[in-house]
């Protein structure tokens, strides 16, 4: 008798909170009214607690770097289709709104980069399509070229360039043949007279070489070319 009254009371109380409580079932039978009442109370309490929380203050308490360390970014990136993600992003609009310098100041870039497999990341990105969507002119307009150049040590850059190696790679003969340099040289000389002189000198040197080879043969020594030049001779000044 007493138990039946308690059921009715509980039923009546639950009905005030959750009118659908009597309809809930558990394993094919009606849930106990106490259980239903506890669930309804918990839902309301949680809602009120969450509403009372200051999420910003809570996030400020969290060490994001520590959280990032616990995340396997590579694993996350593997599961993301970066190309489709990039397609959905208006990069220009983001770049216009972002205070990139301020953002970079807040991020420990070195720490972040240490956790990223750059090669894998780059292999999954369609760089050509990405570059195609970037308004390079706008970015260039935002760059202070003079400031960038001021930061570059040009002497150090030039010091790393092997100019001799570059010059060695230049085919001077082809250059002369393909440019007007040859005609300039030809005009600067006396034409036929120079041709005759070059030919005479060349033939005479040829005879020199022939005689030298013959003498080397007599002496039974290998001939390795004309000897010289004398030490200390400035060849350019000899002409």
């Amino acid at each position: 008798m007493k138990q039946g009254r308690l059921k009715r009371t509980a039923k009546g109380h639950t009905l005030c909170v959750d009118p659908l409580a009597p309809l809930r079932t558990k394993r094919g039978r009606l849930a106990s009214s106490a259980e239903a009442m506890a669930q309804a109370i918990a839902e309301r309490v949680i809602g009120q607690v969450v509403g009372a929380l200051d999420l910003n203050a809570l996030l400020a308490e969290i060490d994001l770097n520590a959280v990032l360390e616990t995340i396997d970014i590579n694993q996350v990136l593997r599961q993301v289709d970066l190309n489709s993600l990039m397609d959905r992003i208006d990069i220009d609009a983001i770049l216009n709104r972002a205070d990139v310098n301020g953002l970079l100041d807040r991020v420990d870039v070195n720490r972040l980069l240490a956790t990223v497999d750059i090669n894998r990341l780059l292999s999954s990105v369609d760089i050509a399509a990405l570059i195609g969507r970037v308004d390079v002119n706008q970015i260039v307009r935002q760059i202070d070229a003079n400031e960038v150049i001021d930061k570059v040590d040009l002497n150090a850059v030039i010091g790393r360039v092997d100019i001799n190696a570059i010059v060695q790679r230049v085919d001077v003969d082809a250059l002369v043949e393909q440019t007007d340099l040859g005609s300039v040289i030809a005009k600067s000389s006396s034409g036929v007279a120079s041709d005759v002189l070059d030919a005479v000198r060349s033939r005479t040197v040829g005879v020199d070489e022939f005689i030298a080879r013959f003498v080397a043969l007599l002496r039974r020594r290998p001939y390795i070319g004309p000897p010289g030049p004398p030490a200390g001779l400035r060849v350019g000044a000899a002409s």
Partner: protein, 190 residues
């Protein structure tokens, strides 16, 4: 020498022009050819001078002055003139007329310009190489530095002074050499 007229075939630059020998010790043929040219030049000038003297004496005095090769004074004058000729040009820039033509130059053992004293010593020692039956020139053929006796005495060497590379650039710049004509496919048109 190659004549360049009309259709020009494929030319190869002279072998010696493929590599610049500038600064290397000059060989026997170049030096001998230069000396031969010098001999012609200085003898020509000497004969011209004698002719001028003869003409002047004829105009002024009315007598011809006959110089013959057996005259001692003519020989002495010729020797003095040859000495002045060689010593002057070697001391000036190491090049005589023949040397300039064949691109050879007299420099010191270490490649510097010849001083006046060295030029005079070389010019004085030069006949010695002849007087010992030409044996003084054997050093050009056999020596490692191609030095004759008078070079050893004066402390000089003879080097090639012409720049074969520049000569080659000149050679390449001539359009008939640098751009051989394209084959025309035996006159057929595509």
């Amino acid at each position: 020498m190659t004549a360049r007229t009309g259709e020009v075939g494929h030319f190869e630059p002279p072998p010696a022009a493929r590599e610049s020998l500038q600064g290397h010790y000059a060989g026997f043929a170049s030096r001998f050819a230069a000396f031969a040219v010098d001999l012609v030049v200085l003898t020509g000038i000497f004969i011209l001078a004698l002719a001028t003297i003869n003409f002047t004496a004829n105009v002024l005095v009315g007598k011809d002055v006959h110089f013959n090769r057996g005259n001692v004074w003519v020989i002495v004058a010729y020797a003095v003139w040859a000495f002045i000729y060689f010593a002057h040009f070697w001391g000036l820039n190491g090049k005589t007329a023949g040397g300039a033509l064949f691109g050879v130059q007299v420099v010191t053992n270490d490649g510097a310009d010849v001083s006046g004293r060295q030029a005079i010593a070389r010019a004085l020692a030069f006949p010695l190489s002849f007087l010992i039956l030409g044996l003084g020139f054997l050093g050009i053929l056999w020596g490692d530095r191609r030095r004759a006796l008078h070079d050893v005495i004066a402390g000089t060497v003879v080097i090639y002074s012409w720049d074969a590379r520049t000569a080659r650039l000149r050679f390449l710049s001539r359009s008939p050499y640098s751009a051989p004509p394209e084959p025309r496919g035996n006159g057929r048109r595509a």
